[in-house]
Symmetry: C2
Subunit: 390 residues, 2 copies
């Protein structure tokens, strides 16, 4: 899959329903009151930028910061949990190329040093600086180079660096994921990165959202929007050690976010992350109906979405619906699903060359439903992940 031909059209997916009247601005332009910068410190090869800095110039920002629940959380996540004021995040400092995970006490100290250096550069309390890192796990962070990169990024801060920031945070992504949109008198800008290790359980990957809208309860707003977006996608069923989503709102526009806008932005970004998952060639939505409970619907949908047999069949454009029944039957082990048959699984589109495929599965066990978006599993996933550290 190549990057979308027309990156001027942000809402590309048929599954996304943005509110009416949304206009797209240049994604380089950040929401009013925000600036960003980027630098190259050597974590990535080829001179690519690998340090990003994001700052809100309004002192009264309200924010919410969602973090992975992984028990082996990376150092930056621990720093955010323990030392950052998650309701009043003024700035974010990010590196890509090293996750600073499984790096022990030194890793924690290094991540905190990133907050401190960013704070110095920006004139902020380090507790107002969120830190996020992404990349290889278990390798010590070359912290001096990163700290130098932060200083350099601080020197490049600009209100038109949204796209540059989105580039700096990428790892195995093939294209940057960002947007700037306006509607109802407010502006929202957002940047995300994905890769592999994607089946969040709390947040996902790295995603930064800025707005001048009034957001009364940023945590509730972000939770609702991620529940319907990043929490619904899976590349490989793996919960990352580093997943982070940050929402910052200045309220300067004096208007609220139009209903559904944050959800639409995050769902489109989540689907971009999925479409650009490691080796992805297509995205599928599986919708389960007729389950006996909400938990059962969710379990069946995720069993299908995470089955390597279903995912390789999707890669092969192979309408092997028997594997869908197998995965559903595994999720309901001990029960008897005689009712599932060929005609109750709409797999017709799997044979076509669609980037977005839809798969409907109807059980006859109750009234509950759930859906999950997932990508296929192909040679590129193996190639990328077999050689990632060597």
């Amino acid at each position: 899959m190549t990057p979308p031909a027309d990156t001027r059209t942000f809402f590309r997916s048929r599954w996304v329903d943005p509110p009416e009247g949304v206009e797209q601005l240049d994604p380089a332009r950040l929401a009013p009151g925000f600036r960003a910068g980027a630098a190259h410190c050597g974590l990535k090869g080829g001179g690519k930028t690998d340090v990003g800095l994001l700052v809100c110039d309004a002192p009264n920002v309200s924010s919410s910061l969602l973090l992975t629940r992984n028990a082996s959380a990376a150092a930056p996540v621990r720093v955010c949990r323990q030392r950052v004021d998650r309701d009043a995040v003024r700035a974010a400092v990010v590196n890509a190329g090293n996750a600073n995970a499984e790096t022990g006490e030194q890793g924690f100290a290094d991540a905190w040093a990133m907050c401190e250096r960013a704070g110095e550069q920006l004139g902020l309390d380090p507790a107002a600086v969120a830190v996020a890192e992404t990349g290889v796990i278990g390798v010590p962070l070359p912290v001096d180079a990163v700290l130098d990169g932060i200083a350099e990024a601080a020197g490049s801060l600009s209100a038109d660096a949204g796209a540059a920031f989105a580039e700096a945070i990428l790892t195995t992504d093939r294209w940057p994921k960002s947007c700037t949109l306006t509607a109802g008198g407010v502006t929202i800008s957002a940047q995300a990165k994905g890769g592999g290790m994607i089946q969040p359980n709390m947040a996902t990957m790295l995603c930064f959202v800025q707005t001048d809208a009034v957001v009364e309860d940023p945590t509730a707003a972000l939770r609702t929007a991620t529940d319907a977006s990043f929490e619904r996608i899976t590349v490989d069923g793996q919960m990352s050690t580093n997943d982070t989503v940050l929402l910052q709102a200045t309220g300067a526009a004096g208007e609220p976010l139009p209903a559904g806008l944050l959800e639409a932005v995050l769902l489109q970004l989540a689907l971009e992350v999925l479409a650009d998952g490691e080796g992805s060639t297509r995205v599928c939505r599986v919708a389960v109906e007729g389950a006996a409970s909400a938990g059962e619907a969710e379990r069946v949908a995720r069993a299908i979405a995470n089955s390597p047999l279903v995912k390789t069949a999707l890669f092969g454009r192979d309408p092997n619906w028997g594997r869908i029944a197998q995965a559903a039957g595994m999720a309901l082990a001990g029960e008897d699903l005689e009712e599932i048959g060929a005609d109750s699984i709409d797999a017709a589109e799997l044979g076509e060359d669609l980037v977005e495929a839809e798969l409907g599965l109807r059980l006859d066990r109750g009234e509950h439903r759930a859906h999950v978006y997932f990508s296929d599993l192909g040679y590129e996933y193996v190639r990328i992940n077999a050689d990632y550290t060597t």
Copy 2:
């Protein structure tokens, strides 16, 4: 991975500990009192045999039959559940190339017709005939061809057809898995097949075991042995619709099975299934110690064994222990595993070119432990599974 160079040595794995004094016989030779036959009916190409028949000539056989718990169980599994006397199985009829799963009422009728035809040919009540099928899901069985194949296989019955039977039941396997062993005055012969879709929850794939030993409680014996073997392996975390293990014992030798023999046979066969999993190039054992409960130990071990990131790293001979910590942390989401560090994970052997790799993970949460055997995930898995029905 190529077939083992020396198939005369059955107990090849360092993880298998057979009882002393075991001698290996020609795997073509079945345990006394058993005969087998094979035929080609057209389910497989290239004239390969695809119908197998196994019969015990002793009328007082005792048996146990373990079946998959998948809610989308295949027709032969439903027939065995509903119509076969699982404690007194005299014969087994098998086809390879079509799983007869998700084939509705016709599939059930077809599987039962296989029992009836085998019963006719062998002079047995069809309820004394177990049926097993393996291969593609969701494709109607060409039952007439299979029934003709059963008649042909019945005409070829021989006490020296163990290897021929083991060949006939293969699907994507690269080599047959069978043995005939003698110890303590008894003989045991066994044949198995694997492929993909392997993480049993009750039994696994197809496995047939014959002995002239006295087995007082075949179900308890088989349950104990499968708990330590087939229940401990995973190729792709998928529970099959067709998993079946059959143990038949005549008691004619008047002696019990030597302690540990059945476990050793099934563990070696399970590891062969794993080593010959779809696209496997190596087998790994992950042993988790220090968990807070048995369930937690099991959950962590399986999260690691089923992580596509760990499995692709294993394929790439990539000592990416960070992914092991990530998978363990995902299994313990919401907890905090600061204690896991590089030096508590013995991943050194992952960098060497070993067919069997050992991975130890120590938590500091309690006294419980668990281990799981798993295979890697490489290009061949994708190739085999992307094109399986097309």
